[in-house]
């Protein structure tokens, strides 16, 4: 489905995840973050950049990958993106949430 996010028409799924990464931009990230009650700081952006880099390399993300990334430790990851940090951070980064086969 289509949604207006910070003045731009984008395609999203039922849960509000962007379905086309090329439509993502920083304003959209800020707006999604606001909906999740998160004010993006420099640290958030470092994590978002890392997630997007991995996404471009088609590497599926996991808590372990984050832990080994050297970008952020898990405690801080939870502080930055409370409750389901991987899901929330992926949403803001404009990439799909980690999935299983069904």
């Amino acid at each position: 489905m289509e949604k207006m996010i910070s003045g731009k028409q984008v395609s999203v799924n039922e849960e509000g995840f962007l379905t086309d990464f090329s439509q993502w931009n920083k304003d959209i990230a800020n707006e999604i973050a606001k909906e999740e009650n998160i004010q993006l700081t420099e640290r958030h952006w470092e994590v978002i950049n890392y997630l997007q880099e991995q996404h471009r390399k088609e590497i599926p993300m996991s808590i372990r990958k984050i832990r080994n990334s050297g970008v952020v430790d898990i405690k801080e990851f939870y502080q930055l993106f409370p409750q389901g940090p991987l899901k929330t951070a992926s949403k803001i980064a404009g990439i799909p949430k980690p999935v299983s086969c069904i």
């Binding site: 799924n13 039922e14 088609e58 599926p60 996991s62 808590i63 372990r64 990958k65 080994n68 898990i74 405690k75 990851f77 939870y78 409370p82 409750q83 389901g84 940090p85 991987l86 899901k87 949430k97 980690p98 999935v99 299983s100 086969c101 069904i102």
Partner: protein, 411 residues
């Protein structure tokens, strides 16, 4: 003589031994396969052992029954691959050279990855069902267990057969109902993902199952440690869940030999091209089944489809041709839902599981993404198909290697 060496005589390795025996000229190629075990375990059967549906003898057979004549079966433990010099080192000191190597050493559980998981409660009130021993220990536990809070838990992805934990929860519901003690058991499914189902069509079609069976769910739970004293699991966000019985799927990793060979990622899975199945690092090394890092389910059915593609690509490689056979990520699996019913799903890299009929478009007899008795018989028949068709490398009639889009209800 040239040498092709297969590491691991489990599902994928055994299938490759059978395919290559037929495909290669025995005057030119010598085929060897190595495994540290002498027993082949039918791992999908581990799901049924705890509930006494299968007996241990139903799911084990000697490896050598499935290795064709003319293929050399070596019973050795592999220490490491020295890929730069094209040889494999055994733990007892011997070594073997190869021209082409196929890595099929699978994945195994690593409970030591989580603090406290292998502590005092391991096999007292904490069990796995991803090993033969673990499934049997759990069977004995379930026989005497009086009820309480049961957690069915996934530590982290990826795991073998990602739906098995959910199937375990469904079968547990059925099991306790039959024992007339369902009211004394609280079943909670704990997952690091954002739901029991993560794909839109499956969520829509199957969301009712958990509710109907009164299975609670805790999502986005990234476990940090197990508190043995207070019988709790704790996640990185400091959420705590208490348990009386914890059935966990620990971290799954490739064998340590991959780490010793410096050929793996952080979970010892070998970086592999997802369509050709060639290793990213070495042109004469190929990877099949659970040992690779490709983003498909770690399942026997996947290894079966991969084996057909990989055989063609190995022939291309031998003839110096481009590796033009492409794996599309085809996966097909039955999901037990308890009470004598099951679901069937069929999907690939680009298509999520949807409703429809299988294998004949519009006819069935199997129903996709819907519970039925027919699917349950399919699941039970899978054991026969596994021993008699998958391992010997036979093509399964009507089930093509590439996923069929007909008969499926895509939008």
């Amino acid at each position: 003589m040239k040498k092709i060496l297969i590491l691991g005589a489990g599902t994928g390795g055994t299938m490759m031994a059978n395919h290559l025996k037929k495909a290669l000229n025995p005057k030119q190629w010598e085929i060897s396969i190595v495994d540290e075990n002498q027993t082949h375990y039918y791992q999908p059967g581990y799901l049924f052992l705890p509930f006494d549906i299968y007996q241990p003898e139903d799911i084990i057979k000697p490896i050598k029954e499935f290795i064709p004549e003319g293929v050399d079966l070596l019973h050795r433990k592999i220490d490491k691959i020295v890929a730069a010099e094209n040889y494999v080192q055994f733990s007892d000191g011997g070594r073997i050279d190869y021209d082409i190597l196929i890595v099929a050493t699978g994945a195994k559980i690593a409970p030591e990855e989580v603090e406290g998981m292998k502590g005092a409660e391991w096999r007292n009130s904490i069990f796995d069902f991803y090993t033969f021993d673990g499934a049997l220990a759990l069977r004995d536990k379930l026989k005497e267990w009086r009820g309480g809070k049961l957690l069915v838990h996934i530590t982290e992805m990826p795991i073998k057969c990602p739906v098995a934990p959910l199937e375990f929860a469904f079968l547990a519901d059925s099991f306790f109902k039959h024992k007339k003690m369902r009211a004394q058991v609280d079943i909670t499914f704990v997952t690091p993902l954002s739901g029991a189902f993560t794909k839109p069509k499956a969520t829509e079609a199957l969301g009712y199952l958990l509710q109907e069976k009164n299975i609670h769910i805790v999502e986005d739970f990234a476990i940090e440690k197990v508190d043995n004293e207070n019988k709790k699991i704790i996640d990185y966000g400091d959420r705590e869940i208490s348990f009386d019985l914890l059935v966990t799927v620990p971290t799954n990793k490739g064998d340590e030999l991959i780490a010793r060979s410096e050929m793996g990622d952080e979970l010892n899975f070998v970086p592999t091209n997802k369509t050709t199945l060639q290793s990213n690092a070495y042109k004469n090394v190929f990877v099949i089944g659970d040992a690779s890092n490709i983003a498909v389910s770690k399942a026997g059915s996947v290894a079966h489809f991969e084996a057909e593609i990989l055989t063609e690509n190995i022939l291309h490689y031998i003839h110096d041709e481009p590796l033009k056979s492409e794996f599309d990520g085809h996966t097909n699996c039955f999901i037990e839902t308890g009470d004598g019913k099951a679901l069937l799903i069929d999907f690939n890299y680009t298509h999520e599981p949807v409703e429809g009929t299988f294998p004949f478009p519009g006819v069935g007899p199997m129903q996709l993404l819907k519970e039925s008795r027919m699917n349950h018989f399919g699941k039970l028949a899978f054991r026969w198909v596994y021993w008699n068709m998958l391992l010997p490398g036979k093509h399964i009639p009507f089930v093509p290697t590439e996923m069929n889009e007909a008969g499926k209800h895509f939008d």
